[in-house]
């Protein structure tokens, strides 16, 4: 537990002497395989939630034999309590574009898309202008790659990569069966790299700062830094870039109001950590990973209400196609209500916990698979609050 909380300035960094396009030119001068090796070496993992090694994802896609490939930037950002991608797209969109262009160059894609959630449509106008400009730069460099923006339909599940492809193809945003994975058959069933907004910026910045600089940050399993969206009972809500691998207690010391009883790490689909576990919880892939959301609850909060809100969210946002998730979410929600009202015995919570195991292993996509995270961590740590 020797890591200290450390604020970092990579993502939003705007040093005067650096022309962003130089970063692109530097990358384009490198062999594609070297960029992949660098990325793998850097240990950069996806910042969208699943934490897949970015270099490996690119490698798989590059190795696919196909004339048509795509690069997609996932800016659906629907996880409750997450608002960092909006900030990134607002403040440093060129860094995102450059990450996408490097990706296009590396994997051999000619088209890139930014899939942006409907709620962020107010950003699109400004973004499009900068993008038009950027696309021109790409043409000037004779790079056969162009980026376009696509607006999402507003469903949380459309952030799930295969549902996102379905949505882009004009169908209902329903997740697909896997395999095949996007690297083999993604958008239009063609090999596709899909990365989170933030992931793409780190690609750009690794190219700028070098692998070593990035690797110095974080831990063995969680290299680098990450942008956090801090919300809830904090005097200083907002966006912070922090080194990965920090212990939660330090985070709480820095951000909470002195009365934190729990932190929900990773948004509604993440885990709830109670005060007694702050000391031995690490924020990172070896501990509790997060897409960036950190929600702090102080002692005035009812954890029943917190869980109820989350379950309501999932009950509504499940795409509804698969049984474990569609019906499971409703059963969990109605189940805690029934326990609260005394219509079901407290032991019913244990039946529901078993149900979350089925949801975790049998649901079709990450949405249904992760509903058990908040459910079990809140029920286990705040059982009395749920029952009484």
């Amino acid at each position: 537990m020797d890591k200290q909380i450390k604020k970092v300035d990579i993502i939003f960094q705007m040093d005067e002497d650096c022309n962003l396009l130089d970063i692109l030119d530097k990358a384009l001068a490198q062999p594609a395989d070297d960029i992949i090796l660098d990325l793998i070496d850097s240990g950069l993992k996806g910042r969208g939630g699943a934490g897949f090694l970015t270099g490996l994802k690119w490698k798989f896609t590059k190795n696919e034999d196909s004339d048509v490939k795509y690069v997609i930037c996932n800016a659906d950002e629907g996880e409750p309590g997450t608002f960092k991608d909006r900030e990134i797209l607002d403040k440093v969109p060129e860094k995102v574009f450059i990450g996408m262009a490097i990706c296009g160059y590396v994997v051999g894609a000619k088209e890139g898309y930014i899939y942006i959630r409907g709620e962020y449509n107010f950003l699109v106008k400004g973004l499009q202008k900068k993008l038009d400009n950027f696309n021109k730069h790409l043409k000037d460099r004779n790079l056969d790659f162009q980026i376009a923006i696509r607006s999402g339909s507003g469903a949380y599940v459309c952030g799930e990569e295969s549902a996102l492809f379905e949505s882009m193809e004009g169908y209902r945003g329903e997740p697909r069966n896997k395999p095949p994975y996007p690297t083999v058959a993604g958008y239009n069933k063609k090999p596709t790299v899909i990365n989170n907004v933030e992931t793409l910026v780190y690609v750009t910045m690794i190219s700028r700062l070098g692998v070593q600089k990035f690797k110095e940050l974080g831990t063995k399993d969680s290299r680098g830094s990450k942008v956090f969206s801090v919300s809830g009972d904090t005097p200083i809500p907002g966006i912070y870039e922090l080194e990965l691998g920090m212990p939660l207690n330090q985070f709480v010391d820095e951000f909470a109001d002195g009365d934190a009883k729990a932190v929900q790490v990773g948004g509604a689909s993440g885990h709830c950590v109670p005060r007694k576990k702050f000391n031995d919880t690490i924020i990172g892939f070896e501990g509790i990973p997060t897409g960036g959301s950190m929600m702090i609850f102080n002692s005035t909060r009812s954890m029943y209400n917190v869980l109820h809100d989350y379950l309501e969210f999932f009950t509504e946002e499940s795409c509804g196609q698969c049984t474990p998730c569609r019906v499971g979410c409703q059963q969990l929600l109605k189940g805690i209500e029934a326990v609260k009202r005394g219509e079901k015995p407290p032991s019913y919570l244990d039946d529901l916990k078993k149900l979350t195991t089925t949801m975790r292993i049998a649901a079709k996509c990450g949405l249904g698979q992760s509903v058990g995270n908040p459910f079990n961590s809140i029920v286990d740590n705040f059982r009395e609050e749920i029952i009484y």
Partner: protein, 597 residues
């Protein structure tokens, strides 16, 4: 391209299968059945019910066996503790949102969810009842199909059927989460939307969410009414499928037993729609030749070609909705069922001295759309509703069971006369391509005086299960009055299932194809795969039924419609000649454009 063999183990038993095989299929090769609900052999993989989940060694998640291809070295467990627990949970969850009033359900005894829950002995519900009261209100707006959302398990088989097999898209998934459901456009009643009543969704619904509108009680009431004379007619495809619903394997022909059972049930006369099928051939064949003459000799530009068959009411409604600009191409002939009805209450009623208003005409059909067809306002040319009630093959099987008839032990009996005689040409109406074949057997002979130049009258190019089939027949040695057809290549095409029909219609519209005559059946396989046929259905089953149909044809003494003596007599005594004024009054109809949604 030859496929690699993949080696894996299922429940510790080694198995080798071709690359691309699903776990489900691989398991069935070594006789492990994995339960399924959303999976259907006719449909694209959905993988959404999750009942088929299995454990793959080393994987954190269970895999949906229907949607997961095998891979080398895979070790699969189809009944591990994890699998069993999850599967039970999933069945329990489905039951919790399902209105389980099995004893009152039309599908009681033939429900895949019921079977599964009894297999797993799902006892007292652990989970809360989630059935929404508003979902218990059935949509009974359609004369053909009843939709009961409280029975729906969201497997989306109906949606895939309606969209992929039938290209109709009357049913779609709407909303998400707990509000997700299968709905018509804007939730309108089924009778107000593009639904063709084909009932293919009914054939594939695993539960009682989609069923036919049943008229069994009305038919019993008519039979019990001493003042009613109840005649029944049976469509060609019933005789090769009914047995499946009474416990026999697909492909068994039970024509004689069918007649016997209907007599025992108490119908006053048991007649054969096949008679009207032969009649249809005379009328439609004549219409074809007349259109050809007017187009080719008179150069009449108002004549629409290709002529398209009009026996399938789902296909008719499909055209009215989707291709209204091609309505003139449809033959004006009524379907055999409706020709039969119009004649029953006129010619036949006269012959047997029964007043038309005392006659009840019941038809046994492989079809749900026939229920709609009989209700069309155009179908009252006898002065009454020409056909009163339509029962599906499934409903007839229920009546046979209700009547306590031991079907297996029945002696064969013969159809009553008149309106009971038929030929092999009529029987093959039940299979895709059959109307085409029957029409060609007659038309060719009218024009040339010779039989069609195919061995044993079997026009094999128009047979089979290919979605769209084409054939060209050279007309040679014509009679003098048909000299304009000498040497003409008659181009014909056959499609079955409405998605295939759509492909064919687009070809016609674009002018890419140059056909003279097209047969379309709304259902895959033709009537033998109709929406009123026994459940389940699959390509295998439909092929067996087709074999039985063609065997029935081969076994008939008469195999050409124009040889049917009762049809000959009908023209002599009543109609005059084919396409006569009287024939037009009773046996022909017209169509109307309908909205796209």
């Amino acid at each position: 391209m030859s496929k690699y063999l993949v080696n894996l183990k299922i429940n510790n038993i080694p198995v080798s299968v071709e690359e691309g095989t699903t776990i489900l299929e691989a398991a069935s090769r070594i006789n492990f059945r994995i339960p399924t609900l959303c999976d259907h052999p006719d449909l694209n993989v959905a993988g959404n019910c999750r009942v088929c989940v299995v454990e793959v060694k080393g994987a954190k998640l269970l895999a949906a066996a229907c949607a997961t291809p095998v891979s080398e070295g895979m070790e699969v467990f189809t009944n591990s503790e994890k699998v069993r627990t999850s599967r039970k949970h999933i069945i329990e969850l489905l039951l919790s949102e399902h209105n389980s009033d099995c004893t009152k359900c039309f599908k009681n005894g033939n429900c895949e969810l019921q079977t599964l829950s009894s297999e797993y002995r799902i006892g007292d519900h652990v989970f809360l009842d989630l059935v929404k009261p508003k979902d218990k209100i059935q949509d009974i707006s359609s004369p053909s199909i009843v939709k009961d959302d409280s029975k729906c398990i969201r497997c989306q088989r109906c949606v895939r059927t309606c969209t992929d097999l039938q290209a109709v898209s009357a049913l779609a998934v709407i909303n998400k989460g707990d509000q997700q459901k299968i709905s018509t456009f804007l939730g309108k009643p089924l009778n107000e939307v593009v639904c063709t009543n084909c009932g293919q969704c009914v054939n594939r619904c695993p539960t009682g969410a989609l069923t036919e509108r049943s008229y069994i009680d009305e038919v019993w009431d008519a039979i019990y009414d001493p003042n009613k004379f109840v005649v029944v007619e049976t469509a060609p495809a019933i005789r090769v499928a009914l047995a499946e619903d009474l416990g026999f394997d697909p492909g068994l022909r039970v024509t004689g037993k069918l007649v016997s059972a209907l007599k025992k049930i108490g119908f006053s006369k048991v007649l054969d729609t096949d008679f009207a099928a032969d009649l249809t051939i005379i009328e439609e064949g004549t219409e074809l030749l007349t259109r050809l003459k007017r187009a080719l000799v008179d150069n009449d530009e108002n004549i629409a070609l290709p002529l398209m068959t009009s026996c399938s009411p789902a296909w008719i409604k499909f055209q009215e909705h989707i291709f209204p600009d091609l309505l003139n191409n449809l033959s004006s002939c009524k379907s055999p069922q409706q020709m039969f009805g119009a004649l029953s209450k006129t010619y036949y009623a006269d012959k047997i001295n029964i007043k038309a208003q005392d006659m009840v005409v019941v038809s046994i059909m492989p079809c749900t759309a026939k229920k709609f067809e009989a209700n069309r306002p155009e179908m009252r040319d006898s002065g009454y509703q020409d056909v009163d009630y339509i029962l599906t093959t499934r409903e007839l099987a229920m009546m046979i069971r209700q009547a306590g008839i031991d079907f297996e032990k029945l002696e064969d009996e013969k159809y009553d006369s008149i309106l009971g005689e038929s030929t092999g040409a009529a029987v093959i109406f039940g299979a895709t391509g059959g109307v085409m074949e029957a029409a060609l057997r007659t038309a060719y002979e009218i024009v040339t005086g010779n039989e069609v130049p195919f061995t044993n009258l079997n026009i094999t190019p128009v047979r089979g299960m290919e979605g769209v089939r084409e054939a060209t027949i050279k007309i040679k040695n014509v009679k003098p009055e048909w000299s304009f057809l000498e040497g003409v290549d008659l181009n014909v095409a056959v499609a079955h299932g409405l998605a295939n029909a759509k492909i064919l219609m687009e070809k016609v519209q674009s002018g890419e194809a140059n056909y003279h005559f097209i047969e379309v059946m709304g259902c895959p396989g033709g009537c033998l795969g109709g929406g009123g046929q026994p459940i389940p259905t699959s390509l295998e089953i439909r092929k067996k039924r087709a074999e039985a149909i063609y065997a029935e044809d081969e076994g008939m003494p008469l195999r050409k419609s124009h040889d049917n003596p009762e049809v000959v007599r009908l023209y002599k005594e009543f109609l005059g000649e084919a396409n006569s004024h009287k024939a037009h009054d009773l046996l022909h109809t017209h169509y109307k454009p309908r909205k796209r949604y």
